[in-house]
Amino acid sequence: MSIQLLLVVMCAAIAGEAPPPDFSRIQPILAATCLSCHTGDKAKGGVNLAAFKDDGLARENPVLWAKVAVSVGDGEMPPSKAKSLAAADKADLVRYAKELSSPKLDFVADIHPLLVTHCLPCHQGPKPPGGMDLVWMKNQEDADRVLNWGTYRELIAAGKMPQKSRKLNDKETITVPPLAAADRAKLVAWIRMQEKRLEKLLDCSDNGVRDDQASNQQVGMVYSRRLTRREWANSLRDLFGADIADPQMLPGDGAGAGFDNAGAALFNNTMFLEKYLTANDQALRTLLDGTAPALVAARTQLLSPLAGAAPAQAIRTILKPLVRRAFRQSAAAADPEPYAKLADQALARGDAPPSALRLALVGMLNSPRFLYLVDETSGRKGMIPLSDHAMAGRLAAFLWSSLPDEQLLEAADRKELREPDAIAAQAKRMLADQRVRGLGEGFGVQFLGCNVLGSLKTPDPKIFPEYTEDLQRSMQAEVAAFFAHLFSADRPLTDVISSDYQFVDERLAKHYGMAGVTGPAMRQVKAAPHRGGILGMAGLLTATSAPDRSSVVLRGKYVLTKLLNVKMPEPPNDVGALPENDAVNHQTLRQRLEQHRSRADCMSCHQKMDPLGFALEHFDGIGRWRDREDGHPIDDQAAMPDGTDITGIDGLRRLLNERKTDLIKRLARDLTVYALARDLTKYDRCPVDAAMARLPQAGWKASVLIDEIVRSDAFRLRMYQPVWDQNGGSKIIRPKKPPASGPAAQPTEKPGPAPPIKPQPEATAKPAAPAPSATPAKPAAPAPSATPAPLATPAKPAAPAPSAAPEKPAAPGAPAQAKPSATAAHTASPKPSNSK
């Protein structure tokens, strides 16, 4: 709306109205008419007109003046009850407001010079303040790629920026020319208009790709991360074709954003690495020394090349495909040589070939290329598509919690995985594979909070002697099997609320009171009464219980916050928890809870939570059905504050069914978090919105959600901020003649952490790098179609010895035309990251 308004205003200006009045004419009008309401922090409508103390300050806020022009012009302001405005005053005020609402500020002509003089001196280099590197920002389009202008506007308007000087190091200090008041007004006004412009641009329907150059918001954009212990164990299983690793061999991975795979929270330090190293060695010993038939078969297969060739050669033959897969690389890039050399050493001193191979494999599994999901391709600074092979890695981590299979890697070799359609097709294929169990174990178990069973949540053995480690594993396996089935069989997501099937093994069937199920295998059966869907799952019901009994509050809280997606405040600090199991007190639990709720500060939340928990009271602390507790019949009557009856699990299901949009939206949001392995930013709404738009017509099919996620920009792109010397050819620019500036006028050299990185002059930043598609394997491969190729090659030298030149920087990003484009965009989300 505001853009249209600006256009109207501009047209009017062009039409040649009388010159606008001076601020001295306007100030008395404001004082007499407006300031009585529009003053101070609590000004009406947030419109603080008292801030306009002079013409310069007034000019800083074109957006507000646009509002004034309309509201006063339409007669909406001043409100008739309050003040009246003389016709001449009104006309002048409107003209002035119109004038100020459309400052003719062009980025290149008006703003860029200001940035160069006053901002660039500090905002460049390897560690620019606030992560804001301005070297690359040369036109309006570049400026549109920054999303947090508001922060800078506030600092500039408050006079806190530019700072007078900045200390670069012990020797060098930059002096920054002061910003004149008129220039500050210009800059602030432009930023305000820019913010408005971005609001419009940031929309899921827009085709432009947005990214955020400012580090504070890039945080969510980190792509590289360490493997979780689940992913590590699954990867070893898939690499060697046998279960040789157990996640328990590694420390727990903690959590960020609600899932163990959140990259930002996957730290590494010496202890973690020691564990990875030990565990890799141990898993390989299991493979090479184990006696179980499955191990023998896997080993025989692995070692078969040793039968017909010299050991050194055979080991290379064995390593080659393993390296490719473990590192998620192209067949051409995979280089077994560094590891084979380890084996050579061992062979030379007389080790048996399998033992020499083990050493090589330990080396391979200790590599950061295996332990981390990384993308070695570079490109222009900003959002760039993941390379094909990194996309293969990402898909496999998302859908399988494991490594890509050969088919997926081949698709990557063919450079198909930058195409949304091809990615979606691969995802569809992968969902049908049994490895999708990794999605059930990763997403499903954590969505239900069952991952804490056995560690943080362990039922009291005295009260629940039936609860064993085996039963716990069965509970978790049920959840994993259910979610894996949901996606692999493309079931409606509403099965979460209720389904006519469930998964059990013998142990769990007994727990549920079902007959006729024998053996340890999880299988699909017709749902028992009160089971089917997640509400009847023992895993969920145990995870939301206290150690000694079921918990109405915990269950209610889970349903309310997770399934109904209602954000709840934390309980106030000084409020006691409810003594739910106070045996001395003869009141019933319900009476005690009602007493609790009678406190006003408790009631607002507990009146919403508790009924949802009461509806599940027929399930005990480990999820068994019960008709009586301590001799008293179970009372599971419950009603929501508005009177909606939700008695029993059926009542609760009815409610969830009515509000399935909320539930599935939350599920979609959480699955997106899991897929991206990071918290969502406000620009990540698109996949969730797109899925929610399609799902009702598509019968809530699970595949729709996966499809939207893997096609989304958020999934396919990553934030790329080159390490300094590869900054798309940009170089350090200090102002030519900074007033009174000393040594700061020269390029500075600041070695980063190892290896030292040297700034590279522009002239040499465009070496005769290999053409993007000139990999040795496919010299004639066409450039990826549809989208302009934004990436330089991984710059892998031809085999052998990729690590022979560790100091060599990657090829610089392709210049000018290498701008990413895509078909959808990020946008502001109403529910940012934390809605728990």
Partner: protein, 489 residues
């Protein structure tokens, strides 16, 4: 200690092992003590810091009488046997902590940024890591971080659950992982062993070197190809790898320590996997003492539980009607005090074991600083006006224990930490805003007036942490060793 533990395979996982625990780890050490020749040199000062969750009931914690004649309220009653070895502090303010979600500031004394996942930052370097960086090079492990519970999930009040269990920070953005498995901790300390305590066969040292070099080379070749943020992730790997490298090098170069522990863990069998929390904690406490006794490390932090833990103490603490610790803290005063008392009793057991270990005229306890504390003052109301703290040991004769020391408002916990840092031989000018160490540690009475303190400066999370960012600054050597007015040794 000939091989780093990761190079030696664990033969069996031992998960679900049924054998009875009965782990006489410390007892195993005794026969060896006599056979070991006494060494020259003064025993080093060592630090063990125990943490428990959920605050204390202040009425049942702080004595009424100050000085050496202090009384023992309910929660401190277990201190009776080591009364003369303990300082009871009151009034130490830690601006880094608040309610549960801020417990990660316990050892940094600095405020941090609320985040649910991305950009986790602890505010600064924790005092144990300042110690580890300064004195950790002399021992096989620079420091040991111990927990008993896996990382929790979710978030609270805008803070990731990571903040509930990471209290040790190597840099503002690098929390130290904790070991929660006793057997794994044992192998980290002493290498993998068989059931009789004999070392398992290990890989040739040349292979260790080759493996590390290979991994270092790969990380270095990979790094310049990544974007800045991604490269930061890889830097964690590089740093971690250098830690492993350091460990390998430590075992291959000659030991330059002048003082040698009288005991070596040569025939100590590895612990079996504990079946209950009580067993796990007991093992961890024993291993901590063993690590100090054998000079495997000189700096240990041990979280008895994660913060805000609602762990059930059924079976450990008699007479409970409500079992969960956090639940008790809010609704069952008797149970709250009983659980807190039990935790003090664990501290006392550790101190008694350390007192029984002779280091040639002085005990391990005499040569150590053993603290017990919790972030909040009062878990019932989440009040964190000041933090309850106990400290046992004499730090090699530079602390005069056996007193209750109430300090006036405005005294900071960081000033105690500064005193501890200096006693460890860290030439620290300041720690988290404190420039003077806590008065009266070595004797005398606490001041009556409010001392002047500079407010600590938090490290801005928006600025990437420098690898070597230090909370403590070096000082003149004169400030390093405080005078002693204590009684013994």
């Amino acid at each position: 200690m000939s091989q780093p533990s990761w190079l030696i395979p664990r033969r069996t996982l031992l998960r679900g092992a049924v054998a009875a625990l009965g782990l006489p780890l410390l007892e195993c050490m005794r026969p060896l003590a006599a056979s070991e020749p006494a060494s020259a040199g003064k025993p080093p000062v060592r630090t063990l810091m125990l943490y428990f969750a959920n605050g204390v009931p202040p009425d049942a914690w702080f004595p009424k009488k100050s000085g050496s004649q202090f009384d023992l309220p309910q929660c401190l009653a277990p201190l009776a046997p080591i009364r003369d070895e303990v300082l009871v502090f009151k009034g130490l303010k830690n601006p880094g902590v608040g309610s549960h979600e801020n417990a990660h500031g316990y050892f940094t004394c600095l405020k941090s940024k609320p985040t649910t996942g991305a950009d986790i930052a602890g505010g600064g370097v924790s005092m144990d890591q300042v110690m580890a960086k300064a004195v950790g090079q002399d021992t096989p492990l620079p420091s040991i971080e111990i927990g008993t519970e896996p990382p929790p999930f979710g978030d609270q009040k805008g803070y990731s659950a990571q903040y509930f269990h990471y209290m040790s920070w190597a840099s503002p953005t690098e929390p130290m992982a904790r070991e929660i498995n006793p057997r794994a901790l044992f192998e980290r300390m002493f290498g993998a062993k068989d059931a009789q305590g004999r070392p398992l066969p290990s890989r040739p040292a040349a292979d260790d070197r080759s493996l590390i070099d290979l991994a270092l080379g790969e990380a270095k070749s990979l790094r310049p190809k990544l974007g800045t943020r991604d490269a930061n992730k890889l830097d964690e790997y590089l740093e971690a790898l250098r830690g492993v490298e350091r460990r390998v090098e430590f075992s291959s170069r000659p030991d330059t320590r002048t003082w040698r522990p009288r005991t070596k863990p040569e025939l100590v069998p590895p612990p079996l996997d504990p079946k209950t929390y009580g067993e796990r904690l007991q093992l961890m406490l024993d291993l901590a003492v063993l690590a100090l006794q054998t000079d495997t490390t000189r700096v240990i932090t041990l979280l008895m539980t994660n913060e805000a833990s609602d762990r059930s103490y059924s079976g450990l603490v008699p007479g409970l009607t409500v079992f969960g610790h956090h639940t008790c803290s809010h609704s069952e005063p008797k149970g709250y005090a009983a659980i807190t008392t039990w935790q003090v009793a664990q501290f006392v057991k550790v101190c008694q074991k350390m007192r029984a270990i002779d280091e040639g005229g002085s005990s391990l306890l005499d040569n150590s600083m053993v603290t017990l504390g919790t972030a909040m003052l009062d878990g019932r109301s989440h009040n964190a006006d000041h933090t309850p703290m106990l400290m046992a040991g004499r730090a090699g004769g530079t602390i005069a224990p056996g007193r209750y020391l109430p300090y006036p408002q405005g005294t900071t916990l960081s000033s105690l930490y500064l005193g501890m840092l200096r006693r460890m031989g860290v030439p620290a000018k300041s720690f988290a805003g404190a420039t003077d160490e806590l008065p009266a540690l070595s004797g005398g009475d606490p001041p009556q007036e409010k001392p002047k303190e500079k407010p600590p400066e938090s490290i801005k999370p928006s600025e990437p942490a420098k690898p070597g960012a230090k909370a403590a600054e070096p000082a003149t050597p004169a400030a390093a060793k405080p005078p002693v007015t204590g009684k013994k040794p």
